[in-house]
Symmetry: none
Subunit: 257 residues, 2 copies
């Protein structure tokens, strides 16, 4: 806890970089270096394959020790994003069609606007081998993709982090550093609240016949999460929706007795 | 000679990337991969330390074999740039005050304009250890520098090539970093559907204790309607939400019997 506080105080700001199940320590180190190059320092790892700390990561970070020292570990993407109010997911391919898709430059400007308005933001990067799962993308608000050559589209994670860090830095170089977009007036809830609402909704619906037939459950959960994420509910709104669910839960319990 | 001709015929265009005395094969490979990601294929090496070909370069190029196969070797920077009409030199710090200094985005646009006008162009990248000499910078028309964190300014050559290749690709897109795919405009449902959802939600909640005490019902209905309106749900989304309500309704009916 003390360590976390100290890290938070030392932070220079900027979006959190969240690596989901990174495999190679070298890549984590190169990510840290790219972040340091462009003034980012909040690196979060979800289940790194080779554990943590990782000496290969430190070696390939080329003296970005302040980023490596401040790394935080999480068991789930949900936990890693819990304190954030705006979350981007990076993907290489257009497999997803519902969430808004931004280019890196536009995403950099949007991140700048959110953070300028004190709305903590972050970016999810997937595994070296197969990126992010659809369920992980469901946890994000919007998607970033890179304008790569379609015939040779695979960016490694250190390169993807480099480009996003670079666009973040560039977004702060505008005249007077004034953000080009304004953040939404209504502050979206921290992701933790949203994810707990997801759990509650899905658990409540499991007591009904909503997810029928069972093999459709996954797709239906996906659709619900997409629509509830896009709505951008604030904290009081999510509290009210949880109240709605509790009212149904209690009514069902009473009726059963 | 024959090989050179064949390579020229196969070129997809774009600036030449010239690495001056690169030391590590791994870096040359990562440069090739970054170039392939953004549609560049003309890689020229001036006196690579470990000679050429270099198996480490091929291994770290991750299948960017067409770039590796087309590499051309030169003894001097002058020879490597001989056919070009516009040459940029990359430096970490703007230590030079006579030549124009550009950022990567502006440099990408300038390269695009030159090449569009059939004026061959290229970019010089220096050694891993100490960059380009003043004499080498003298051979270039202008300087590119990167907007890095002054406290942590060292970009490796693969990263520098990645950023320039990315800005080259972006300069050819109509709207900056426009992504390769965009989400379909999500059309909000006709209001009639929204209002029928309101009715359904409020009727279902009337069978529970949600609206309690009764004098707060009006304000609570107002809050629910505001939030559900702001979410801008589409017709399929509202259909799904009505399905959620029906599932709760049926469960409550079953429990009551």
């Amino acid at each position: 806890m003390a360590g976390t506080n100290r890290n938070d105080e030392n932070r220079t700001g900027g979006p959190a970089i969240i690596l989901v199940e990174p495999q190679l320590g070298e890549n984590i180190g190169m990510v840290a270096r790219a972040m340091a190059n462009f003034g980012l320092d909040d690196l979060r790892l979800v289940n790194p394959r080779d554990g943590w700390p990782n000496e290969k990561a430190r070696a390939s970070a080329s003296r970005a020790d302040h980023v490596i020292d401040a790394v935080r570990l999480f068991d789930t993407v949900e936990a890693a994003a819990a304190d954030l109010t705006y979350l981007l997911a990076t993907t290489a391919r257009p497999r997803y069609s519902v969430k808004a898709v931004r280019g890196p430059e536009e995403a950099g400007a949007e991140l700048r606007a959110r953070i300028h308005a004190d709305q903590p933001a972050g970016i999810l990067f997937g595994r070296e081998r197969f990126g992010l799962s659809n369920e992980e993308i469901d946890l994000a608000d919007e998607i970033v993709t890179f304008p790569v050559n379609p015939a040779f589209a695979s960016l490694n994670i250190a390169q993807a982090v480099l480009l996003m860090s670079y666009e973040w830095m560039k977004s702060g170089l505008e005249e007077g550093a004034a953000p080009r977009f304004t953040a939404p007036e209504l502050v979206p809830a921290p992701k933790d609240d949203l994810y707990r609402f997801f759990d509650h909704l899905e658990t409540s619906l499991d007591t009904t016949n909503f997810f029928f037939p069972p093999e459709k459950r996954e797709a239906m959960v996906h659709n619900l999460r997409v629509m509830m994420t896009r709505a951008g509910f604030s904290e009081p709104e999510l509290r009210m929706l949880r109240g709605v669910l509790r009212a149904f839960d209690h009514r069902i319990e009473r009726g059963t007795k």
